[in-house]
Amino acid sequence: MVLTDSDIQSIWLTIKLASVVTVVLLVLGTPVAWWLARSRSPLKGILGAVVALPLVLPPSVLGFYLLLAMGPDGPIGNLTRSLGIGALPFTFWGLVIASVFYSLPFMVQPLQNAFESIGDRPLEVAATLGASPLDAFFTVVLPLARPGFLTAAILTFAHTVGEFGVVLMIGGNIPGVSRVASVQIYDHVEALEYSQAHRMAAVMLIFSFVVLLSLYAWRPGSLKMVRKG
């Protein structure tokens, strides 16, 4: 296996992006999943649908809207400019935000299922023992939902690694910033560098297979936790 420096750079960038997105989504996705699992509000259906949207939306739709929204005239662009952060497209953090949207259901849905399967009983018991809701969440829910967290984190990481269309549309293909592995492979193919494309594609294939294999071997049926639509 001979990978060029730019291949390795793109793989590192992909790992960095997927790790950051997984951490961000663990923080943001957990309360969303919790609310979806516990709430009886009529808004639950709407939020659930919004969370599931990236499963069915073409990446081009997501990429197009994100490009407009993050642009200088868009709402996110206006916000980041007034905060002094500057424009987000073509930056690593722009990709993080895009990927957070893109991978949202892969974090929220397994967590929501895990929370739902815990049920009310353990929380009621915790409450009668004098635990505050926050206490109960950290001491009762988190340990019980640990397999759900692991599934969600692995799926989010893997799905972000597999991202292509959105990154191509808002990333600008900058080495070390937005040229992730999938884009690098695309560039190799476009430039007719098939042997280099083969090497990287093989790395991606093996990685994806190992991730899914370990997930299936460890918890058969865990992929069912992501519900289409």
Binding site: P72, L168, E190, A191, L192
Partner: protein, 256 residues
């Protein structure tokens, strides 16, 4: 029984109309977007019943796809070397003919690019410069050459963002995410794009010529319509449209 008759009749009609109506698919480099749309509209008008449909993208991608058997009957490449290579591999049904020479410009949607030169690219107001990917898009290669020849490449390297093809690059500028882009003159002269900002024509001695060529693919070789369209491209009407969009035509003197 009645249903069967109806079914047969409709199939017969479908087949009968198919004999007359021909359909071809043209793969065209993204810089041709506006010019080719206009040419095809003219062609379709004079050939009612037939249909020419165009797919736009990067020349390198089409080259790869045709090698892999993509259903394109004609291929208009922004770099003549791609169709020449296809012909060498026996994937062409016609000679490779030049149809135009392209030019590149600095274009902006928000700043007045008509008063710019290559040196203006270091302006701190410009934080992003969009060019097509030099690795496989001919316009990107020429943009990079021009930056290098003018001594700007090192100074603006950190500002560069790369579009998948020249239309994608234009879109980065149009949405305001890049302040300027180095794009095809043929796109910059389109009224919708020319309305704001304007453009600066990059001197052609700064880069190799963007010699563009087309070829009828092996697949299109069996289709009379593909040959008709190939002839139409060299017609006075088509050349007029090409010239309108800033292409320098084969056999004519280059502009500035």
């Amino acid at each position: 029984m009645k249903l069967f008759k109806l079914l047969f009749a409709s199939i017969a009609i479908l087949i009968a109309t198919n004999v007359h109506a021909e359909k071809i698919t043209v793969a065209a480099a993204a810089d041709l977007k506006f010019a080719m749309d206009e040419i095809v509209t003219g062609f379709n008008k004079s050939h009612p019943g037939d249909e020419v449909q165009v797919v736009y993208g990067s020349s390198g991608k089409f080259h790869t796809q045709i090698q892999q058997g993509a259903p394109y009957d004609l291929f208009f490449s922004a770099d003549i070397s791609y169709p020449l290579e296809l012909a060498k591999q026996g994937l062409a049904a016609s000679d490779v003919k030049p149809y135009a020479v392209g030019r590149i410009v600095i274009w902006s949607n928000s700043l007045d690019a008509s008063i710019m030169t290559m040196k203006s690219l270091t302006d701190p107001k410009i934080t992003r410069i969009a060019i097509a990917n030099p690795k496989h898009a001919p316009y990107g290669k020429r943009a990079e050459e021009a930056l290098k020849a003018s001594g700007m490449l090192d100074k603006v390297q950190s500002k560069l963002v790369f579009g998948e093809n020249i239309a994608h690059t234009t879109q980065f500028v149009q949405t305001g995410n890049a302040q300027v882009g180095i794009i095809a003159l043929s796109l910059a002269v389109n009224p919708e794009l020319a309305r704001k900002g304007g453009y600066y024509l990059i001197p052609e001695n700064l880069h190799k010529p963007l010699e563009q060529g087309y070829v009828v693919t092996r697949l299109g070789g069996n289709k009379p319509l593909a040959k008709l369209f190939a002839v139409y491209i060299a017609s006075k009407q088509s050349r007029g449209v090409m010239a309108k969009y800033g292409f320098v035509l084969p056999g004519e003197k280059t502009g500035k």
